[in-house]
């Protein structure tokens, strides 16, 4: 197979620009907006992966994000005043153990949910998320509502927010390319088959619940990696950070970016984080009754607008505009190319070619 420049060039250009960002971006923008964008983008990408390619719209991804964070807190913190188990393990060992635990939990939850799909999956995983919130709130052995504070990243990242930015950047790209590669493996193709025709796939001999469980576990692992970064960045974690609000926020990020393309997750995360940080600085915005306190109304209206106008989010809008502006012949050729490249984004579950 020849290297398809149109597939690899854009991500590489973006990577180079982002890697150079600390040279010209303000420190606030780099460490508060962009690092957070990468972490939330990684977690949201797992929603896009599960929903767009597995037909499983999961609301439990932020729970996985949180479980990994809580485990880091329990395993690596040793201070006397802190909550949790206070095991005081080596930070890197904590990372490994936290991710193992997160993946095991994801396997269990994924297995419980594996025979449901679509809207049922959304509701069930939403219940998981809230049960997780109450679990960490009520079970003081692991956290309690006060949460765990004083969580330090490994020494190499401590007090180096720019290094953490680079780690988040690298892991975001690793996540993106991993998921993109997984989608093209036999496993990924089977998953897309299950998304479209679960009964037919079962009749053909595929183990549908197993595929769903494994996909969920993989997504749980990746969301867990993002959760580890988040807890290093934050230095603390409490159950409120994985409550219903943030859980829905993550789904919103995926919706804003678009469920049909992986990169949408990071675009959605950027829009969300930027709106969160800069809404107040838009001139005259407080004149029309929108203040920072009403952020949720603004973001809710934005989501409503996106879901009504462009169900595939910003990336879907981009695809549609690009198609509208291109001459027809070129578009057909592009479609043909996408077909050969087995691009999953060309066909949604309604079977339309986009």
């Amino acid at each position: 197979m020849t290297i398809d420049r149109s597939r690899w060039l854009p991500p590489l250009v973006v990577l180079v620009v982002l890697a150079a960002l600390p040279l010209f971006g303000s420190e606030f923008f780099v460490t508060f907006v962009m690092t957070r964008t990468f972490m939330l983008g990684m977690a949201a990408a797992t929603i896009v992966f599960l929903s767009g390619f597995g037909g499983m719209t999961s609301m439990a991804q932020f729970l996985m994000f949180g479980i990994a964070g809580f485990m880091i807190g329990n395993l690596s913190v040793s201070e006397a005043g802190s909550k949790g188990l206070k095991l005081g393990l080596d930070p890197w060992l904590s990372v490994v153990l936290a991710l193992v635990i997160t993946t095991v939990v994801a396997l269990i939850l994924g297995a419980v949910a594996s025979r449901t799909t679509g809207i049922y999956y959304l509701m069930l995983t939403f219940i998981f998320a809230v049960i997780g919130f109450f679990f960490f709130g009520q079970v003081t052995t692991f956290s309690g509502f006060g949460g765990i504070t004083g969580i330090d990243p490994p020494p190499v990242l401590l007090d180096h927010p720019i290094r953490l930015y680079f780690v988040a950047l690298a892991l975001s790209f690793a996540t993106y390319f991993t998921l993109r590669a997984v989608i093209r493996t036999p496993f990924g193709l089977a998953l897309q088959g299950i998304r479209d025709e679960p009964v037919r796939m079962a009749a053909l001999g595929w183990n549908v619940p197993l595929h769903r469980t494994l996909a969920f576990a993989m997504a749980g692992f990746l969301a867990g990696v993002a959760g580890v970064l988040n807890v290093w960045w934050n230095g603390q974690i409490d159950p409120r950070s994985i409550s219903i609000g943030p859980t829905i926020d993550l789904l919103i990020i995926a919706v804003i970016g678009g469920m049909a393309r992986l990169e949408g997750a990071w675009i959605g995360a950027f829009v969300f984080v930027a709106a969160n940080n800069y809404l107040r600085s838009i001139p005259l915005v407080d004149r029309i009754g929108i203040t920072e306190a009403r952020f949720n109304t603004v973001i809710g209206a934005l989501v409503l607008l996106i879901v009504i106008a462009s169900p595939d989010g910003i990336t879907g809008l981009y695809d549609r505009l690009r198609r509208a502006w291109r001459p027809i012949g070129v578009d057909q050729a592009a479609n043909q190319l996408a077909l050969e490249g087995n691009d999953p984004s060309i066909s949604n579950d309604r079977g339309e070619i986009r």
Binding site: G118, Y120, M123, F126, I131, Q138, V199, L251, A301
Partner: protein, 349 residues
């Protein structure tokens, strides 16, 4: 459909046996063994057992009111209304506000000042407001995209965020309470334990709601259309029946029930930001256990979930009481292991 292909009869019965064994073990624990718990073994502390049972039963009543509205809407339209909890909270706030107007005081209302009327009227006003908003939301945002269930769920999630934020802006962040009527606020004695009459009143309302729903769905023409619509919408349409009107009525009634739940819930446990989310969750747990779209399922799910909520904290060993939330998860997992679409649910079409 799916479970037949991937599971098969042997696996199904094995899961049933496991769940039955768990049920027997739980019953034995509650009856004879639960000595280190806050309630004590039922055989020695029958009063505690009855109280816990009544707690579960009355909570199940409220759960049923909320979940029946949710499942009614889903049954006919396949719309998952994620704003159901927001309608609940809106009705709760409106009812509280209206009650304060009727009593003429904004705080420190005592039950003696509340007549039956100044509880029932605010409850109906709150429910009506929720029902009207539900109808408007349906006509504006959900009417034109039937069948696109994920999109509808996302739309209602977005709406629920806006409503929650606006409620916070208009009613503040403090917890508020609706006051039960004084005529009903009594305690009675049962096996040496005091028990609140208002909780039984809550159960009575839910029984009335359940009976009303049963009559409406099974004995009226509109109910017949709705039941037919659940089974075969296209056919009902083809027979020249106005299904769209039935849809609107159903959404109105479903939202009304959410509002009723809100007013009762505000009297029972108060209303505050976040109550919307927790009652949406309660409704979801009930319908996932019972099976989406089934009234029988809503009743069964409410009973199971209500009992689990009441019994888990009372009958877990004292030092493990905070693991009560896990019991909900186990209940959910157990039901889904036997019936992936809930107790009375039909496989997804």
């Amino acid at each position: 459909m799916l479970q037949q292909l991937s599971g098969g009869p042997t696996r199904l019965s094995r899961a049933t046996i496991v769940v039955a064994a768990i049920g027997v073990a739980v019953a034995a624990w509650v009856l004879f063994l639960a000595t280190g718990t806050s309630a004590g073994a039922a055989i020695r502390e029958p009063g505690e057992f009855i109280v816990t049972f009544l707690d579960g039963l009355t909570l199940a009543g409220l759960l049923f009111v909320v979940a029946s509205g949710f499942t009614l809407i889903f049954g006919l339209m396949r719309t998952v209304n994620m704003a159901h909890g927001s309608l609940f909270l809106l009705a709760a706030y409106v009812a509280i506000e209206f009650q304060q107007r009727m009593v003429g005081k904004t705080n420190n209302i005592v039950p003696e000042e509340v007549s039956i009327l100044s509880w029932v009227v605010p409850m109906l006003v709150g429910s009506a407001v929720a029902a009207l908003l539900g109808l408007v939301l349906y006509q504006t945002f959900l009417r034109w995209n039937h069948g696109d269930d994920l999109r509808q769920a996302l739309i209602t999630i977005a709406i629920s965020i806006i409503i929650a934020d606006q409620l916070l802006a208009n009613f503040g962040g403090l917890a508020q309470r609706m006051i039960w009527p004084g005529a009903l606020t009594h305690f009675f004695e049962i096996l040496g334990e005091r028990y609140a009459t208002t909780r039984l009143f809550m159960l009575a309302i839910s029984l009335v709601v359940g009976a009303g729903l049963w009559y409406w769905l099974n004995r009226t023409r509109m109910g017949m259309i709705i039941r037919a619509g659940v089974d075969d919408q296209e056919m009902v349409r083809a027979l020249g029946i106005n299904v769209s009107a039935a849809f609107a009525v159903t959404f109105f009634v479903g939202s009304f029930l959410a509002g009723m739940g809100g007013a009762i819930g505000a009297s029972f446990a108060g209303a505050a930001p976040g109550t919307d989310g927790s009652w949406l969750l309660n409704g979801l747990v009930v319908v996932i256990i019972g099976g989406l779209g089934s009234m029988k399922g809503a009743a069964a799910g409410s009973l199971l979930f209500g009992m689990a909520q009441a019994f888990a904290p009372a009958y877990l060993p004292t030092q493990y009481t905070f693991y009560a939330i896990i019991v909900t998860f186990v209940l959910l997992a157990a039901v889904l292991a036997i019936r992936p679409s809930g107790l009375y649910g039909t496989a997804e079409r």
